[in-house]
């Protein structure tokens, strides 16, 4: 993202918002930013419970949990990238590239390979490689991240299409177990996703790398002058995001049992919209993994509500696109300023 603040640095931009009502003191505004997404989620759940009797059933809540696993994992990776003030548009491409690689390495019906757990590890390494390329091209060749990751999106899809031979690889039932086996009535991948969220939270809150990520997102020049190794941090963050996109792809493979080039379609929207709705600003430096996870669950619940209400699936895609725009605009509204240049 190419962005320059001329009048106000981003820290002081909040209080003098053009729409600032008197009761909205900076302190209350911060409270609202922190708890707003949770309140939104609560209200959404309440409305859906009242409107649709099928919503608050045990079966539907399990469905929501199962559906959240992949977006939550993707959201942790994207939240870290967005905290830097960058963006990762390559999520869907990396997902399908990994999905096909893992499918061809696990026990499948196309070749005789059966690497077991190693297939997943190599798959995550492939995701890491995609992420590392994103990060290195962005940090060392100095190209805006949206452009690099936009290109890599299609590279990933091309790789997947190339790996698709005459028939889509289908993996054996046992190879899907680590994803789909039921624990407490919910597929195991949900718990893996929860662990990933917890690890992401700990990394951002309690490690030096985490603090450096916030520092770079807040003010990159300042961070660099205070001795943060900006380029290395960027490469590490993009690499982690790549691993998590890869994990998302492996989950998707486990769920479906068969690799599919279109399996990741729409994931990018859900993830960006969720991360931003949770209050992680696109300009970087603000937000976190927990907030983003709340935002992501809002998106999943919303989609679930639309499915229950029988909304046409294609229309649901359009609605999600509109939510992305609305969420980004709403969250950025207070940062507007005269003569601010946003490319």
């Amino acid at each position: 993202m190419v962005q320059t603040d001329y009048l106000a640095d981003s820290a002081s931009a909040l209080p003098d918002s053009p729409s600032g009502a008197d009761w909205l003191t900076p302190r209350r505004r911060r409270m609202l930013a922190a708890w707003g997404p949770v309140i939104t989620l609560g209200a959404l759940v309440l409305v859906l419970t009242i409107v649709n009797s099928k919503f608050a059933t045990a079966a539907n809540i399990k469905t929501i949990a199962n559906q959240s696993a992949i977006p939550l994992v993707l959201g942790v990776g994207l939240a870290m990238v967005i905290l830097l003030g960058a963006i990762d548009l390559s999520i869907e491409g990396v997902m399908v590239a990994t999905m096909f690689s893992v499918a061809l390495m696990a026990a499948n019906n196309v070749n005789d390979l059966d690497l077991g757990v190693l297939a997943i590890i190599v798959g995550l390494a492939i995701g890491a490689a995609f992420g590392a390329v994103n990060g290195m091209v962005n940090a060392y060749l100095r190209i805006p991240s949206f452009m690099v990751t936009f290109g890599m999106w299609f590279v990933g899809i091309g790789v997947a299409q190339r790996l698709l031979g005459r028939q889509p690889p289908r993996i054996d039932l046992e190879a899907r177990n680590w994803v789909t086996v039921q624990r407490l009535g919910v597929q195991q991948m949900f718990f893996i996703a929860v662990i990933v969220v917890a690890l992401g939270f700990l990394l951002l809150r309690h490690t030096r790398l985490g603090r450096h990520i916030y520092a770079i997102g807040g003010n990159e020049e300042l961070a660099s002058q205070s001795g943060v190794h900006v380029r290395r941090v960027k490469v590490m963050v993009f690499t982690m995001a790549g691993v998590l996109s890869g994990l998302g792809g492996a989950f998707a493979l486990g769920r479906a049992g068969v690799a599919d080039v279109t399996a990741s379609q729409g994931r990018l929207f859900t993830t960006i919209a969720g991360v931003v709705l949770g209050g992680t600003l696109l300009s970087g430096g603000r937000g976190g993994v927990l907030q983003s996870s709340v935002g992501i669950i809002i998106m999943i619940v919303l989609r679930n509500g639309m499915v229950l209400a029988g909304v046409d699936p294609f229309l649901q895609d359009a609605v999600e696109g509109a939510i992305v725009v609305a969420a980004v605009i709403a969250m950025n509204w207070s940062a507007r300023a005269k003569l601010r240049v946003v490319a």
């Binding site: 003030g85 963006i87 936009f150 299609f154 696109l282 359009a318 992305v324 980004v328 605009i329 003569l339």
Partner: protein, 296 residues
């Protein structure tokens, strides 16, 4: 580079210079060219439009739906609508001060979702009416290719000689200085996006005239090649540098590459990899890093 590419492809695959491939080239060219002209306008402003190919698909579907009742007027109406869609993107982008890639990425979702919704996910056959003459041939060249070049010359004239053109470059070169010298940057950017929408509408017309089928997703795969065409031609994504002539060359490179890859027997499946890398590499070469204080 274009000459080298044509020579290279012809050497490797002599059949490339045969009439059939050249005809394919002439048929592919107008569609990509319309998309890349729209994209160029926005890139000259230092912005990007990730929605323009989706808007083209949306336009094609609307035209297919309306052709039976409205005929040629339907096509004009759809082009007006796509210009409006572009203007909406530009307005949201400037008013809310949100990065253009983000607004248009959302737009990509909205318009491709609506295209699928309206068409119920199916391809619609369409009688292009008057527009079918676009793919009649004059001296063996499809009219659409000629029309595209005429539009390009007119647009190049507008950019070079009208106030709007100069303001467009001024905003692309430095929005803040331009604003301070009295250029209404908000309006220029809005018009730039509207022009991108207008070209998407033209591309939709070319598409239905060519295939006589409107599918809700056909044009979407052209987003990346069109961006690659603009940047390969030498229009920098930092804005303010570039023009119609460069985009014409860039589009020819991309079109030759697409047809050449097919002729040379490179599988279609791998082509996104090539265009993705091409886009990244050409950005790396043409970007003006001194204009960006930090690169996010």
């Amino acid at each position: 580079m274009l000459v080298a590419l044509v020579a290279g492809v012809s050497l490797l695959e002599p059949s490339f210079l045969k009439a059939a491939s050249l005809r394919t080239l002439a048929e592919q060219f107008p569609l990509i060219f319309m998309l890349s002209m729209g994209q160029m306008t926005v890139i000259l402003l230092g912005r990007i439009d990730l929605a323009n190919a989706a808007v083209t698909s949306f336009a094609a579907i609307l035209m297919a739906k309306w052709a039976p009742d409205l005929g040629t007027f339907g096509i004009v109406a759809v082009i007006a609508i796509t210009s409006g869609i572009g203007a909406l993107h530009g307005w949201l982008h400037m008013r809310a001060q949100v990065a253009s890639f983000m607004i248009t990425l959302g737009g990509l979702g909205v318009w491709s979702g609506l295209a699928l919704f309206i068409s119920e996910g199916r391809s619609l056959s369409v009688d292009p009416g008057v527009a079918s003459r676009l793919f009649d041939r004059t001296l063996g060249i499809p009219n659409a290719a000629i029309a595209a070049v005429v539009v390009a010359v007119g647009y190049a004239y507008l950019l070079a000689n009208c106030t709007f053109g100069r303001r467009l470059f001024a905003v692309g070169n430095g929005q803040r200085p331009a604003s301070l010298s009295g250029v209404n940057a908000d309006r220029i950017v809005l018009i730039g996006f509207a022009i991108s929408g207008f070209f998407s509408g033209l591309a939709g017309t070319v598409l239905i005239a060519w295939l006589e089928i409107a599918s809700p997703t056909t044009a979407n795969s052209l987003l990346l090649p069109a961006i690659a065409a603009v940047i390969l031609g030498g229009t920098a994504i930092t804005g303010g540098v570039g023009g119609v002539g460069r985009t014409l060359i860039g589009t020819l490179i991309v079109a030759v590459l697409r047809v050449g890859l097919d002729v040379a027997g490179v599988e279609t499946s791998i082509q996104p990899v090539i265009f993705g890398m091409l886009a990244i590499v050409s950005v790396a070469v043409t970007i003006d890093r001194s204009r960006l204080p930090v690169i996010k």
